[in-house]
Subunit: 437 residues, 2 copies
């Protein structure tokens, strides 16, 4: 596989995608089952490859946390197989009729979902990303080119080889559905293949995703930043405000949907800030505040301008007192990253205004920012969280890997018949869409 | 307006977009009515500005066809106003609930359509594009920055100034909803404003659209090429094949959805090609054929390799005899532009295979390629035809100018409550979506 040039790999992927696009759900699920079985029957081989990566990582003194994420066990490999089987159980996103219309008698238009084509998936470390992304792409009828972190190279290569071989044993499917590249220079080349690759899905640090976004013309599904806010309204319930602020900041501070800045209506500040500051301090959260915040809680350190634009991904929080809802919304639209923002209020009118005017993928009313996640949203799987304004936004499930085509079914009609003053007229009658089974 | 830098214009547009996003349908329709009235009450002023453009064009000896498209009349201006009013009558694409789910008791998730934000519209000539694009953007709650052809500069400037002023008179709406830039250097700058501009909509020649696509990181809605095919199957009905081929090629040869290459199953070639060649010759269509085509119709000139990738947009057609459906599909997927392709057959199985395996935005079965158009598809308006694989594909109506956001409405729930073995469980119960009026 590594003897092909990147362009050849991309062409092979494109050809494979045309094969995958026409597979039935049954065939795709059969291939997914084969993939799961291949991992389960080759646990020793996978762990052996993983041991090579671990040895290298220890020798290079890579951080302990990275080595822990990298290390596979029998139970982790069985978990990968279970993950693939759960993808098989998801509804097939391909072939859904989204719209049906009788343009005229005997002239029917149907809009049907179909795969994007070729996905380029680039991720850092963690070999379990390989079966997860591969299975989501296969389920949605897309070919995928994977590039994992170099520390996981042996593990990834072994897993891809098993998955690809397993897929190839299913009649009508091609092993080229899942391919892998290994070097950084190949990534740079991959980002130039906009002729063959339809979507790049990056997973990794903000800086990593930003690098990808800035170096390709291929659409990128992802977010480079999660500067999320909570706004506490004048009338906010104290206990709710405290519980939501703590959860949004601390349930998993490294997550992209964790709160980074807390905004509070000045009319609620003296009532709520002292208790909040106390609770956060008890949890060892470092607080940085604006001048008004520090008038109420003088022990809080001063925030600088840059803090309002910073994603700490850590036990650190900036706090700003604002004049009211409007200033809060303006602050979020100016400094936020369009990811996830929360209002705490008992007033439906303020809540509705916040949710309508804050230009973010997820807007929460009295619910933690940490809920913004594909699994919690019930999407079944999460490809990623997108802060794009086109194609897919917010937590994205399998629907982010498909698009649609129009099928027009006629009986020989020409446009000339429908032209001019005496031409036939379109009816444009909506029909009930056909549900796939 | 022209005293602002491009970045300032883009920021103003972004601010305007936040205002537009929260307007009711009534307010937007009121603004559209004001826009229509402003044009109707200022016909003399518009024609005067247009006269300046015409004078310049005559002096520069610009092509007669261009001058004809540029020239406005009272009835054309009234047509613009009527066009704006018809956009007002379209359903509001914003605020549609697309999904509703009870994640758990008292924790409801709703996915609601919302505007993209800021649209950059770049088009060649034709002042009537200004009210059309402006009204579609306003209806969908987007701010727009327009750049028209320099030949129409005075007309465009006058129309934009009237529209923008009219919009500004409606309480709650901002005149900055519609802005215009005038120079080519501003276009280059505009293409770099990916921080503020969410979508570029180019209208013009293939080369023009390709230039835009290759010079921006902002998503582009459009197509640079329409290399469309008809495939005539072994069993095709002779009269249908002839009528569909003639219409697909000739109903409007300059259109992007006109056929450029005709593929025919070799088993049908001797039955159908001679009649086809005769009909095309009678209509003065220049034919270029492969070797097998020329064995049957020796008077046809030889096609070269480049012909299979060429969009003639003229009375010119390449013809290729293929071994059957598979070769036909492969040819289209290799040489086509993913725009619109047709199969002529009476066999539902071949038709279904063609429509499923041809990777194009529109696939037609016994209906002219010329039907691929927003108005014919009943979309009410056409923003453009897209050959993208993400966001919007094929003829795109107002739905191409919106995206969605998730609104999560809770009662103080934290993610911690739903974590761990004893955590609360999600229900993920789909609810009936609320229909907007």
């Amino acid at each position: 596989m590594s003897e092909l040039t990147l362009t050849e790999i991309a062409k092979e992927a494109k050809n494979a995608s045309l094969v995958l696009a026409r597979l039935t759900s049954e065939t795709k699920n059969a291939a997914l089952e084969k993939m799961a079985e291949a991992l389960e029957s080759n646990i020793a081989v996978i762990l052996e490859a993983n041991e090579k990566d671990l040895e290298f990582s220890r020798k290079e003194n890579l951080p302990q946390a990275l080595i822990a994420r990298l290390a596979l066990t029998e139970s982790k490999v069985r978990g990968m197989a279970a993950g693939i089987r759960s993808v098989a159980k998801l509804p097939d996103p391909v072939g859904d009729e989204q719209m049906a219309m009788e343009m005229d008698k005997g002239l029917e238009l149907r809009r049907v979902s179909c795969p994007l084509g070729v996905i380029g998936a680039i991720f850092e470390s963690r070999p379990d990303a390989v079966p997860q992304i591969s299975s989501l792409c296969l389920k949605s009828g897309n070919a995928v080119i994977l590039k994992g972190g170099s520390e996981a190279q042996h593990s990834n290569k072994q897993i891809v080889s098993l998955l690809s071989e397993a897929i190839g044993t299913v009649p009508g499917v091609t092993a080229r559905a899942v391919q892998m590249i290994e070097t950084r220079s190949e990534v740079a080349e991959m980002l130039r293949q906009d002729k063959y690759i339809n979507l790049i899905v990056p997973r990794g640090s903000n800086a990593f995703v930003r690098y990808i976004q800035e170096n390709t013309k291929i659409p990128v599904l992802g977010h480079s930043e999660g500067v999320c806010h909570a706004y506490i309204a004048e009338d906010a319930d104290l206990d709710k405000a405290v519980a939501l602020a703590l959860d949004s900041k601390l349930q998993y501070p490294a997550a992209c949907n964790a709160m980074e800045t807390l905004l509070i209506d000045e009319k609620a500040a003296s009532r709520i800030l002292p208790r909040l500051a106390e609770e956060f301090k008890a949890k060892n959260v470092e607080l940085l505040g604006c001048d008004k915040t520090r008038k109420i809680c003088p022990e809080i350190k001063a925030a600088e301008e840059i803090d309002w634009d910073t994603e700490y991904t850590d036990a650190k929080l900036s706090i700003k007192v604002v004049a009211g809802l409007e200033e809060g919304i303006d602050h979020i639209n100016l400094h936020g990253s369009g990811h996830t923002d929360l209002i705490v209020t008992e007033d439906p009118e303020q809540a509705e205004r916040f949710m309508s005017e804050v230009d973010s993928a997820s807007v929460m009313w009295n619910a933690s920012t940490r809920f913004a996640d594909g699994f919690r949203y019930g999407l079944g799987a999460e490809i990623g969280i997108s802060t794009n304004k086109t194609h897919a936004r917010g937590p994205v499930g399998l629907e982010g890997l498909v698009i649609y085509k129009y099928k027009l079914i006629g009986q020989g009609q020409t446009v000339a018949e429908y032209s001019g003053e005496n031409g036939k007229k379109f009816q444009h009658k909506l029909l009930t869409v056909r549900k796939s089974d």
